[in-house]
């Protein structure tokens, strides 16, 4: 089978985008760059999954992700998600864009200690039935890079209750470096079509240039599973298989 196409939105100055393009390729997908100003929907039958990469698009002005969320392509993607034709995944800053768009509940505020945090974070996959976690085991511990100054996830009590009750907290930190509520790192919408992760799996895909690991510095490649999951989900969607 030919490599499935995965859309990657190239927000202005999204510094993580090139690494996400590469991660998709290494996982066996064909990345397709999408321009943030586009108002034309991509051929969704051919491109069933889109990633919003991180990298502080438009700075953290106003609120992190708020200005990126007003870009024309977000309307197009939102419509496609509402029509159940598209899976949308936000990584790092991309997750902030999804909360600012109202596609995922909650929001992001300054880190508990309000400085730019760059850390490696230990995470636990709590739900492996999603398009970004299917290649992991439930309960699997993974180590990824966490970076940013406005990465503290928060939500109203009602939103939190709903997230926890529905099993929509997909990935949880053992200890959030930002002080996120309930140590939430990754969440899903009820229908599983919108997913966000406050971490940068694209920096843990190549041995030697990944996270710290028992086998040596930079040997951690726990981010691979996320992109393998994404590629599998795209193949399944293309074959008309509805993911769980």
């Amino acid at each position: 089978m030919s490599a499935p196409k995965i859309g990657v939105v190239m927000f202005d100055a999204a510094t993580d985008a090139p690494s996400v393009l590469r991660a998709v390729e290494l996982a066996g997908g064909t990345p397709v760059k999408l321009h943030p100003k586009t108002t034309v929907a991509p051929d969704l039958a051919d491109l069933p999954l889109v990633i919003l990469p991180g990298g502080f698009s438009y700075g953290d002005y106003l609120r992190a992700g708020a200005l990126a969320a007003t870009q024309p392509i977000m309307r197009v993607l939102e419509d496609a998600v509402k029509a159940q034709e598209l899976t949308l995944i936000g990584l790092g800053n991309g997750f902030q864009v999804l909360t600012e768009s109202g596609l995922l509940p909650g929001g992001f505020i300054a880190n508990d200690v309000p400085v730019f945090e760059h850390a490696e974070v230990d995470l636990v996959v709590e739900n492996n039935t999603t398009a970004m976690t299917a290649a992991y085991d439930t309960g699997e511990h993974i180590r990824l890079v966490h970076k940013g100054a406005f990465t503290q996830y928060t939500a109203t009590e009602e939103e939190l209750e709903a997230l926890e009750e529905q099993g929509n907290v997909v990935i949880r930190a053992t200890e959030s470096p930002a002080g996120s509520v309930n140590n939430i790192a990754g969440i899903s919408s009820d229908d599983g079509l919108v997913l966000g992760l406050m971490a940068s799996p694209e920096y843990a895909i190549e041995a030697g240039f990944g996270t710290d690991h028992a086998e040596g510095p930079g040997q951690g490649v726990d981010g691979q599973g996320l992109f393998v999951s994404v590629v599998r989900a795209a193949i399944a969607a293309k074959n008309g298989v509805v993911s769980e």
Binding site: R63, G107, I109, N111, D112, V113, P114, Q152, T154
Partner: protein, 82 residues
């Protein structure tokens, strides 16, 4: 030129790490009169001409749509600057 001022504040103190960080410095600087600092944002919207009720409503709409995130913030004030 008239200016409309929009003030946006973080919801409770728990959602204001920046205010808390400033707060923590006060005793050492000798400011013991203030029990809490909260940090918000002020936006100034310049209007060409008179501020009508309609334009003030548009400012409120902008505040709700873009300037404040209802998950973490609230609009404390929208008014024409004196």
């Amino acid at each position: 030129m008239p200016t409309i001022v929009v003030d946006v504040m973080p919801k409770p103190a728990v959602l204001d790490p920046q205010g808390k960080a400033i707060d923590a410095r006060l005793p050492e600087l000798g400011f013991r009169e203030f029990s809490q600092v909260r940090q918000g944002k002020r936006f100034e919207l310049t209007v060409e001409g008179e501020v009508t009720a309609d334009i003030l409503d548009r400012a409120k709409a902008l505040a709700a749509e873009l300037l404040a995130n209802p998950s973490t913030e609230y609009i404390a004030n929208v008014e024409v600057a004196k």
